[in-house]
């Protein structure tokens, strides 16, 4: 076997769970579910119950240092601490900025500067952004596999959140795009409120090792609230920028 012959396969931490649910993969080398078979039904779950999804894959870099927020502002990636700065263009970078000295930049994998076009912050690869940040001072570390992203959306979400976490995650306590560090089903994580089409929603940044446990727990506790797993297509796009339609091979 020659090293060249090996095609790396990037796997969700929940690959086997998704497979048991009948996942249709994003691609053979990126094992994240686009749907579990019935996209319309999954879209209905989003509107009527509670949808739990693991869209992806996302690349992520952790940025740490006293000047983190200043440097992100300089790059136009964040305005303030304590909130999620959503990407402004399809495939752009979502900046999670829980504090002034730390941030996690998240972007759908495989997105970079389109050929023949000048790179802007919106289209630069994370590696390029990382280099710029490093040169400015903060420490930058690739944590792409360190976390996975869960989405929870649906009109009945509030009642479920009351069971999942001892932290107040109501709309009053966490406004849209607000970030909170919380314990969810016993695991520490960052959550950002990210409503979807007027429906309450959260994005969860879950430590990879705990992802299967967190997923199983949410599914079990959510069953009585009408929760069901859905694929990324249920949201039209796995891109957290949301409003920009098809990105990254979905649809």
């Amino acid at each position: 076997m020659s090293p060249e012959a090996v095609t790396p396969i990037r796997r969700s931490p929940l690959e086997s769970i998704h497979a048991r649910l009948g996942a249709r993969w994003r691609s053979e080398t990126e094992r994240w579910p686009v749907s579990y078979g019935d996209e319309e039904d999954e879209a209905r779950i989003v509107r009527e119950g509670i949808a739990l999804a693991e869209p992806g894959p996302y690349d992520k870099i952790a940025v740490r240092g006293r000047s983190t927020l200043v440097d992100l502002r300089w790059l136009g990636l964040a305005a303030g601490a304590g909130r999620l700065e959503p990407a402004r263009t399809p495939g752009g970078i979502n900046a999670w900025v829980p504090a002034e000295d730390e941030a996690i930049l998240v972007r759908l994998a495989g997105v970079g500067a389109p050929r023949g076009r000048a790179a802007t912050v919106a289209t630069e690869s994370l590696a390029e952004i990382a280099e710029k940040l490093r040169s400015a001072g903060p420490s930058v570390t690739d944590v792409s596999s360190g976390y996975t992203v869960f989405r929870l959306v649906g009109p009945r979400l509030h009642a479920l959140l009351q069971e999942l976490s001892p932290v107040d995650l109501s709309a009053r306590a966490v406004p849209d795009l607000g970030i909170v560090a919380a314990v969810v089903v016993g695991c520490r994580m960052l959550l950002a409120r990210r409503d979807h089409d007027g429906l309450p929603g959260f994005v969860l940044l879950v430590v990879r090792d705990e992802a299967a446990y967190v997923w199983d727990s949410i599914v079990e506790l959510g069953a009585t609230h009408g929760l069901r797993p859905v694929g990324a297509a249920a949201f039209r796009s796995p891109d957290l920028t949301e409003a920009h339609g098809a990105v990254g091979g979905v649809r």
Binding site: V6, T7, R10, R11, S139, D168, C187, D209, E210, E220
Partner: protein
Amino acid sequence: MAERLGGGGRAINFSWNGRRHEGRDGDTVASALLADGVEVLSRSFKYHRPRAILCDAGRCPNCMVNVDGIPNVRSCVTPLREGMDVRPQNAWPSIGFDVMSLTDRFNRFLPVGFYYKTFIRPRALWPLYETVLRRAAGIGRIDEHGHPELHPRKRHMFADVAVIGGGPAGCLAALEAAAAGAQVVLIDDQPELGGHLRVRTSEVAGDQRLEGLSGREAAARLRELVAAEPRIEHLADATAAGLYEGNLIGVTQGATFVRLRAPQIVLATGQAERPMLFRDNDRPGIMLASAVLRLVWLQRVRPAPEAVVLTDDDHGWRQATELIAAGVGVTALVDTRPDAAAAGRSVPAERAALRAAGVEILAGARPERALGGRHVTGLRIHTPAGERDLRTGLVALAGRPEPVLSLLAQEGVRARWDDQLGEFVPGDPPAGITVAGHMRGAGEDPLVLAGGALAGRAAGIAARGLAADGTADRIRDHERRVAETVAGRTPPAPLPRPGGGKQFVCFCEDVTAKELKQGIEEGFDTLETLKRYSTVMMGPCQGKMCHGLSARVHAGLADSSPAVTGLTTARPPFQPISIAALAGPHLSRIRRTAMHERHDALGAKWIDMGDWKRPLHYGDVAAEVRAVHEAVGLIDVSTLGALDVSGADAGEFLDWIHPNRFSDLRVGRVRYRAMLDDAGIVIDDGAVARLAAERFFVSTTTGNLDGVDQWLRWWLAGSQRRVAVTDVTGHYAAVNLAGPRAREVMAKVTDLDVSRAAMPYLAAVEGLVAGVPAVILRIGFVGELGFEIHVPADYGAHLWDTLVQAGRPLGLAPFGVEAQRVLRLEKQHAIVGQDTDALSTPLEAGMGWVVKAEKPDFIGRDSSAAVAGRGPRQVLTGFEIVEGGVPAEGAAIVRHGTAIGRVTSSKWSPTLNRAIGLAWLTSDEAVEGRSLTIRLGVGREGQTSSAVVRTRPFYDPDGERLRS
């Protein structure tokens, strides 16, 4: 004889003690049984006396039954359901004839505390005594083999204002708080709001919204108002069981346990009637007046056509009027107070109406005893004119209600005895908690309603941080009116000194006034010690029915005042809670590596290491050991902690954290790290790889990641060092490829030069492995040529698959933690935390070389220098068993009967064909070849093994294979 009123709802079939019964929709289990002719629901705790409905509000123990296998269900508040299997408990052979009721006849031989005194000798028989006593006493029994479908759930709620109590004061408090813009949670232990108004017909006065309505109409109006207010969430059938620091309220609602936090809490838990003291006051047919009203109005069951009402307060006169309105005739009202006119106090307003209804009013009368056996047939009273028997099948107890203070007391607020009121009243609550309604002691409608509304308004304003609007002035005015009203009240009649017979103070534990007297005479003369000696107030009701009464009885017996006696400490829960509801989630946190599914497919036997799941072995440990030594093994080491330590000062920072040096580590090299605390104790170890000038990759032991991460951040806090620490444990999946053929496998999966020259021992290289960016460290823990490969965890399974496929022709075998433990013992590699403890210094643990005393400073330097100065007192060293079994970890090593050390690790080595291990020995004993005697430990007491000390690794002592 009880009878059902009206047609009732649809029929519901259920069984009692195996026999079929029929109830109606709206019934509780107890009301259905009562209406169907079953009065006795339980047998008492100690004397096995028949007990029937007393409170009908879920407070007392009298109605506890087994429902569908679940013991201690309060049948008076449990809605009847089709097919329920209801059974009595604590009775044998039947509820009707209970053999243990003989104890009631021989109680003179069972004085208070008798079992403390009687069953202490001979000591060896205590297990037998205990078994018999537990069978004889006690209440429901848990089916240890059953699996009741409890489905406990947890819920975390947050509100601006929490109102506890759904009576009129609570409802108005919630409405006013919501009107101030606050989000309100209203907790009530009843299925519907309204409190006592639900069973009251007299007109309500004092609030515009309820003016002119009867009590029952007012309750309905309050329900409508609350339901229409979107800012109020009503938790029905929910009990606030505990009030904790930080305004945390523990609430049980069915199988759900709610943790509610609110910056403002309004306590409106009201007041409740309590039993009164006279001989045989526990006879079936004696119940609280409020219970009679609840049965009639809420469950449509009339327990008897007529009743005698017993009271010591004007409250009894009102209740007598309500009973008549409810269709229960009152033949006599017995008031223990002297006649009002003669005593110079105002005559109760109800007197004329009661007389007109034919009620005989007996003032200044004292109840002597209940008549009858299995059911009350009358009440013997002592009047100024002499003794008299009142014939009746129902005695309604309507003594002065007591404020329900338990929740407030849980917050540490001591209740205060009010001589004027003759009852305990709440002390000053802490900030953020307001007391309202009947709890305040002034029971007149206008004060109760206004107090609730004002408390709610004030709480809403405070929670929302709104500007003052005059509410504070109105509250002050209200407080003044309450004080004036209280000053005009007359206390209830004092309790008579207990006479003969059984006058039950505590229904849960069958404690009588006479037993309290005995306890006091034996020296348990404070209420707290008397409680522990007699167990009064320690039953399922937790004092709800007897707390105030106990204090008053105690004060009377001790010739003291309740003001001096006080109340005992209140602790959660206010109402019994199932352990299941309190238990943590049944889901326990699990961490899985990226290769988890691969291990599962290989048939791994799992071991829990902290939260991690790790493969212990794949079926044959010896074969796994052999593969590592003879071919190549593959182990998942993703659970090792990994930290990215970056920045211009990272090297200098690591120098400070560790006893050895890292600032001089060349890029591309790895160095062992041992971390010490301030006392020079080894707290972690691992490796540090320098991947770039300002970037270090630091590995930790599996269990210490969080501790090391926090330790580093703690030392960085406030420091000017330009260093960032990032936990990258989850980002990387890691394997160790170990064995003489490991290099051949590596060559098949990477284009990197993996030769000994290009990638020597302790090299650190970044490059593609299996097409994936990887960090490769030339280190190992198992004594063979090893490559520790770290890749992004999303590619972990891919790396595993690729290595297995490439290595299979070369004899590759996955190995687990057990094989790793054997292999590392062969090398005498210590595991921090297993072979070291809270006293282990590097010098004594065989890591002395790691301490660079010439460094100007590092954490633990002074302590290390001190240990070096005095020399090691104990030493971690190897041993091998010469004769005998493999000792347990922790086994003692002895010489002439004196301990000289202990085993920390021991295994059978298939390579060496003998048992080996590591042990702490006193330094004078840690001499190569010294004979040892090891006690084998628990389960093998008296057995020993012979061993000898081995100070050098058992396998490849010079490390040639590791460095190859």
